[in-house]
């Protein structure tokens, strides 16, 4: 909606279309862009001046060093020069506007640089281990920390992540969606109580969810550290989140659709099954996939419950089971440089998994136009 406001047409706009018939000569085009050549020159001048000043200060005058200091000093100089140059020709309000604009543009730039550096670091540092195919097809059994990258891999962690997340989603999704249907479609005093408690439990930190399952299952019930325990811990964490996300999605199904369904004589169940859920399906799928993406990356609950095996184990009820985040954590904690590189490679794989899930979520939601 706001785009009509802030987006002036980019190119020149032909004015006085009606008078064109009377005058055969083409109407001169008028620039409607708010930016003049002077504005651009002012900015370029400020950039040049600030770079030069900072360079002189850094290399000739002051005994400072370090890139962070350089960038900070340069940014401050840039804003100062830009403000002063603008102030020569423009009123005070425009000066303030431009100073704020530099900050508003700088903040997302900084974050984008940080994010790009996260991805680059992971991929570049992980590449030595990652470009050996065995990294994805072998496990770590019998591999010493300083073995070359042609030995050992993360297959066990990949499979472990897959199994644990499947268990978690298999528990959390049906319960979460059914609870959301109850809260949104049935209602009543009980539903309000459920909603309050579920929303409160979304505040449960993941480590506390892990500690809860650790205490109940491993300490009290004597279960072994296993993939099932890790799946339960992830489900404990994900259940309130999924219930709430589904509730939000069901809430945006237009009430008119429900009323139309009732008016046609459909019952409650028919309305939910044939109208509400199909309408909300893309939203539910997106919520589900984003929940999975979050569960895949959670380390804390898994750290407490699954134990870290080095060997392939696809049985979730017996023996420890590794997973990607846990593998990364264990490799970093080992302190060996080879294992560190393996940790980066595993982090790159983990990022790829999350990214794939994310793109999938976008594709599922993509066909739908938001109202």
């Amino acid at each position: 909606m706001t785009q009509t406001l802030t987006d002036r047409p980019r190119g020149p706009v032909r004015l006085a279309e009606a008078t064109a018939t009377a005058d055969p000569r083409p109407e001169p085009l008028r620039r409607t862009s708010g930016r003049t050549r002077e504005d651009l020159l002012t900015f370029l001048g400020a950039v040049a001046a600030s770079l030069a000043t900072t360079w002189v200060f850094y290399t000739q005058v002051l005994p400072f060093e370090g890139t962070i200091g350089f960038v900070v000093v340069w940014y401050v100089a840039l804003v100062t020069f830009y403000a002063v140059l603008t102030g020569l020709t423009q009123p005070w309000e425009v000066v303030v506007d431009r100073v704020v604009t530099t900050a508003v543009v700088a903040a997302p730039t900084l974050v984008a640089l940080a994010l790009a550096s996260v991805v680059l670091m992971t991929v570049v540092k992980g590449l030595p281990a990652l470009h050996h195919a065995n990294f994805l097809t072998q496990d770590m059994s019998g591999v010493r920390a300083d073995d070359p990258f042609t030995k050992g891999g993360i297959l066990h962690a990949l499979v472990g992540t897959l199994i644990e997340v499947t268990i978690a989603v298999g528990i959390a999704m049906p319960l979460g969606v059914a609870t959301a249907v109850y809260m949104s479609e049935v209602g009543g005093r009980g539903a309000r109580l459920v909603r309050t408690v579920v929303e409160a439990m979304t505040a449960l930190p993941s480590i506390v969810a892990g500690l809860f399952i650790y205490t109940i299952c491993l300490v009290y019930l004597g279960m072994p550290a296993s993939g099932l325990a890790a799946g339960l811990a992830l489900a404990t964490m994900a259940l309130p989140i999924m219930a709430r996300a589904s509730y939000v999605v069901l809430g945006v199904v237009p009430g008119g659709l429900r009323e139309a369904s009732y008016a046609l004589g459909a019952g409650r169940w028919q309305t939910v099954w044939k109208v509400v859920l199909p309408t909300a399906r893309p939203g539910l799928a997106t919520a589900l996939i984003l929940g999975v993406a979050r569960a895949v990356g959670e380390t804390a609950p898994v750290l407490l419950t699954s134990g870290a095996s080095t060997y392939f184990n696809s049985n979730p009820v017996q023996d420890p089971m590794n997973s990607l985040p846990l593998y990364i954590y264990a490799s970093i904690s080992s302190g060996s440089p080879q294992m560190e590189d393996r940790a980066y490679a595993a982090a790159a794989v983990l990022l790829m998994v999350v990214l794939t899930l994310f793109v999938l979520a976008r594709l599922v939601a993509g066909g739908r136009k938001t109202r």
Binding site: T2, Q3, T4, L5, T6, G66, E93, V100, V105, P108, V111, S117, V118, M121, T122, L175, G176, A178, T179, V181, V186, G190, A191, L193, V194, V197, V198, E199, A200, T202, A203, L204, P205, I207, V208, L211, Y214, L239, P254, G265, G267, R268, W269, W273, A293, R294, G297, T299, A300, L303, L304, P325, I328, Y329, I332, A347, L350, L351, R362, R371
Partner: protein, 349 residues
């Protein structure tokens, strides 16, 4: 569940006799059909089951804290050391550390989030906007352990230099003080003194990366709902873009800023693995956030659950309960503040 359902006949009365053309009024019944009753009761049962499961977690944590309080008494809340071997256990140190790390993370993340949200709603070209929103959402899905790695190996070498510089020139201010000889260069640590690595300041950078996307998306949504007419009116009166934002968008979105900040705080308090990776764990109460060593409740749980005796496990659960109460309080406040800004939309066809 059955996919096919037959139409419910109960609500429709006998049709009128078509030959006479006379309409017999339908019988209207408010009773649910059997199918609907099964549905409603089934879903309600699941809802109550989830209620029981979910609230049992809170109850369990609460009950577990009883033996702890009986054993350690009130000193559990005032003692700052965590020495299981000497049976001296208290959480005031980790609580202070948790709050410190979370607050510093807010100091980093909130200004960036406000500016980024404004950039997305009011500065960026319309074509870029969906992409920017998507990138922020994607950032929210990046695992904490990846940010932990990044801070540990990419940020920390620079951050220690910054910390050294700040403590050297602003060390007179207690917050920035480091109990070491600041004239020692960073690569040659004064022997026997704490260094600059693994501090609350550096851990907070990782936490800030974790909470930034969440805060940004809450704020962006609220800023995006600022009334268009008033924005246009401000521009039509000759306001610059910043003047328009200052007079329309920011006053309108104030609850979004506060609510987004609180939600981010709730998340920051519970962040575990990136903090565990970065900090060097110490148990003391100190204002020196640039100095090496701190601990949070979640890092305490992650590092000491394995060797815990039953009494210590109960103490850890109590610490977890305290953490949960903190996040619950903060999140509830945030929910109230955010919901005050907008009612639940009533959509019509």
């Amino acid at each position: 569940m059955p996919g096919q359902v037959s139409p419910t006949p109960v609500q429709v009365g006998p049709p009128g006799d078509p030959s006479t053309g006379e309409e017999v009024p339908r019988r209207v019944s408010s009773r649910y059909s059997l199918q609907d009753q099964v549905f409603i009761h089934g879903v309600r049962a699941v809802g109550y089951l989830v209620l029981v499961i979910v609230s049992s977690i809170g109850l369990f944590l609460g009950i577990q804290s009883v033996p702890t309080l009986q054993h350690y008494g009130l000193s559990f809340f005032t003692e700052f050391r965590w020495l299981p071997s000497q049976d001296v256990i208290g959480i005031s140190g980790v609580v202070v550390g948790t709050v410190q790390v979370a607050l510093i993370a807010l100091v980093f993340a909130v200004p960036l989030a406000v500016l980024t949200a404004l950039f997305i709603t009011d500065w960026a070209p319309a074509r870029l906007r969906p992409t920017l929103v998507r990138v922020v959402d994607l950032m929210a899905a990046v695992p904490g352990i990846v940010f932990g790695l990044w801070v540990l190996f990419v940020v920390q070498p620079h951050a220690t230099e910054v910390a050294h510089w700040i403590s050297k020139y602003f060390g007179w201010f207690p917050l920035f003080h480091v109990r070491t000889d600041v004239d020692y260069p960073i690569w040659n640590q004064a022997p026997g003194y704490p260094s600059y690595a693994g501090s609350a300041f550096i851990a907070a950078i990782a936490v800030a990366m974790m909470i930034f996307p969440m805060a940004t998306s809450v704020m962006r949504e609220v800023f995006g709902e600022a009334p268009l007419g008033e924005k246009e009116a401000a521009l039509a009166l000759g306001a610059t873009r910043w003047a328009m934002v200052r007079t329309v968008v920011l006053p309108f979105g104030r609850s979004g800023v506060v609510g987004g900040t609180m939600l981010a705080l709730g998340r920051a308090l519970g962040e575990t693995i990136s903090v565990v990776l970065v900090i060097s764990q110490t148990f003391e109460i100190k204002p020196y956030v640039l100095e090496s060593g701190t601990s949070t409740i979640s890092s305490l749980i992650a590092s000491s659950f394995k060797e815990a005796s039953p009494a210590q496990l109960s103490a850890l659960l109590t610490a977890g309960f305290v953490l949960f109460c903190m996040t619950l309080l903060v999140n509830s406040l945030a929910a109230v503040i955010v919901s005050r800004s907008r009612g639940r939309e009533v959509t019509d066809l």
